[in-house]
């Protein structure tokens, strides 16, 4: 019940924040939904909650594979994502994800800084997941597949304070129904008992916003694959997981009226070191940071310099069922 109250409080805060903000807009193109579908699969009647804060700083101007010596432009995305997972059965779970995002744009020239910001509730994701292989029964492998829609609940008509429509990648939503495909595969006790390896992949098949400011707009289709290596340590009573993830991201070009938008799309590879602290079986927290290793972009793009993610996970198990035997009276 307390957790439900907490969720209610957070939603209320989000609503209040949205109401008070001057320009209710954000960057959905930059909303890290795909990389933050972090929950795997809940056991039967288990609730899992994952709250993630994601800071993405884009300050690298890259032409194809070459870094350009120009730091006059900066984009920053602050995202708070809230993911809920519920196990309908031991194998089937439902996941919902909501996010709030703030997008900032800074241009520094002649010692002046032009600053524009926007924020808002972004699109939502619903996923149905099915666990094909489980390690809960003592095995070493997990395999979960999921699929579902991304619902266009975020606004796409936000303007700045001169009432000018903001670019599509600064809008809160995408205005399109997308299909999201998700998979999780893991091998526990790999090589040695405390070491595990996992692969989380997400593919977002984007739809079209039929009228973004007068023309159809479609964000690029996105594939993300994360190869995660994890080793568990015990420090006193605390369980620590040292994480090392290699993230590959491929995005096709955005389209306006079915024509590719220049300087969009490309391939990225990041190394993501991280640490997870498991305070109890129900509660854990994770820190991680993306460091670009390689990128091959279409044209010239402002792209991620670094990214920081902080996540909290909380699990509620069902209360054990107590069977009361009838008392036999003599």
């Amino acid at each position: 019940m307390k957790v439900f109250l907490l969720v209610g409080l957070l939603v209320s805060m989000g609503t209040l924040w949205r109401t008070n903000s001057y320009a209710q807009a954000c960057c959905s193109g930059g909303v890290p939904i795909s990389s933050n579908l972090g929950l795997t699969n809940s056991s039967h009647r288990h609730w899992q909650f994952l709250a993630t804060y994601d800071l993405n700083v884009l300050n690298d101007l890259v032409d194809n594979e070459s870094n350009l010596n120009d730091d006059s432009r900066k984009r920053t995305t602050h995202s708070t994502l809230f993911e809920i997972n519920y196990g309908l059965t031991e194998r089937i779970a439902l996941t919902g994800l909501l996010s709030l995002v703030r997008q900032e744009r800074e241009v520094t020239t002649f010692s002046n800084t032009e600053f524009t910001s926007a924020q808002g509730l972004s699109d939502a994701v619903l996923l149905a997941k099915y666990q094909l292989v489980t390690s809960r029964t003592g095995g070493q492998y997990d395999l979960v597949l999921g699929a579902g829609p991304k619902l266009p609940i975020g606004a796409t008509n936000s303007t700045n304070n001169s009432e000018l429509l903001l670019p599509a990648d600064m809008q809160a939503g995408t205005g399109s129904w997308d299909a999201v495909f998700w998979s999780y595969a893991a091998r526990n006790a790999f090589i040695w008992p405390n070491f595990s390896v996992g692969l989380i992949s997400t593919y977002r098949l984007t739809g079209t916003n039929s009228n973004y400011g007068g023309l159809p707009f479609q964000f690029g289709k996105e594939l993300q694959s994360n190869l995660a290596l994890s080793n568990r340590y015990t420090v006193r009573k605390l369980l620590l997981d040292a994480l090392l993830t290699f993230r590959y991201r491929h995005v096709t070009a955005d389209e306006v009226a079915q024509n590719d938008v220049a300087n969009t799309g490309g391939q990225w590879v990041y190394v993501v070191p991280g640490m997870q602290f498991n305070f109890s079986p129900a509660f854990g927290t994770r820190f991680s940071g993306d460091i670009p290793l390689y990128r091959k972009l279409v044209g010239t793009q402002l792209t991620t310099s670094f990214r920081f993610t902080f996540a909290l996970q909380y699990t509620i198990k069902p209360k054990p069922t107590v069977t009361v035997s009838p008392t036999l009276k003599p």
Partner: protein
Amino acid sequence: MKYYQLLFAVVLFLAFASVSCRKEENPTDKTFTLPQEEIRDGGPGKDGIPALENPTFISESEATYLDDENLVIGYKVGTDIRAYPHAILDWHEIINDDVQGEAVAITYCPLTGTGIGWSRIVAGETTTFGVSGLLYNSNLIPYDRATDSDWSQMLLESISGTRSNQSIETFPVVETTWATWKKMYPTTKVVSDNTGHSRNYSRYPYGDYRTDQEQLLFPITNYDTRLPFKQRVHGVIVNGTAKVYPVSDFSNSAVEIITDEFEGSQLLIVGHSAENFVTSFQLAVDDNNTYTAVQDQLPVIFEDALGNQYDVFGEVVSGPAVGERLSPTISFIGYWFAWGTFYEGAEIYTP
């Protein structure tokens, strides 16, 4: 509540707060003389596309980053001859320059293909122009740094700020290929690719935009399909209306002259499609002179019956009237779709 539940709540609160409580410094409110909904934020932001200020020039032989077929915008004051390549302007859109004491700005919009010479003296005040990051009908909106007023490049007037509705003074430039410009003016200087900014000037930044006839990145108010959208036309503006002359309609083997009448003005249009230039002049009402094309003597392109020979800027370079020049028109080359939307019903020249 257990300690971790409290921690959970506190950290979440901080996460939300970090998103919601940051500074809000959007650009100052502006009102426009045009419908606000037709003005778009192009994406990079104000000065996100950096205009150049008094760039370095190099000689023709040093400009190895240019290919012969690259387009340049040429300008000439006396013997000071300068070329401003599209390859540079595609990335910077505006070059603020001083040419023999003249404060000029070469403004170029890659999305409408329009290169126009602007005076940097506005209402007696010298200014420089920057790229506002805004677009109207897919066309560049420069701003002047003296008053922060925004200007429509193709409307040639201010659309916001203290300069609203004021007109900009233009000066004649010639758009042609690098090969033709070098042929016309071998001693030309050209903007160096060492601009102080790190860009790949050998690459056109808009993909197949200039050749894909259907592709527009931003909506426009009037879709005129009488010509292919990206067909380059030389447009002449008289009394707020326009008449266009497709560059490709001029002879591809010789300099061709057209004399035309538009909105009560006598026009002389001279072009050569293979050499890739079109220029135009306004003739005096009582001008009974006869003009004929001159071949193979670039930059001289025509002569009159009095024995005067004129260069591509309309300046008499030999003959009894040496040093005089014909009146320039208000004109520039651009993609047809832009002319069709800015000047609805623009007349298309047919022989």
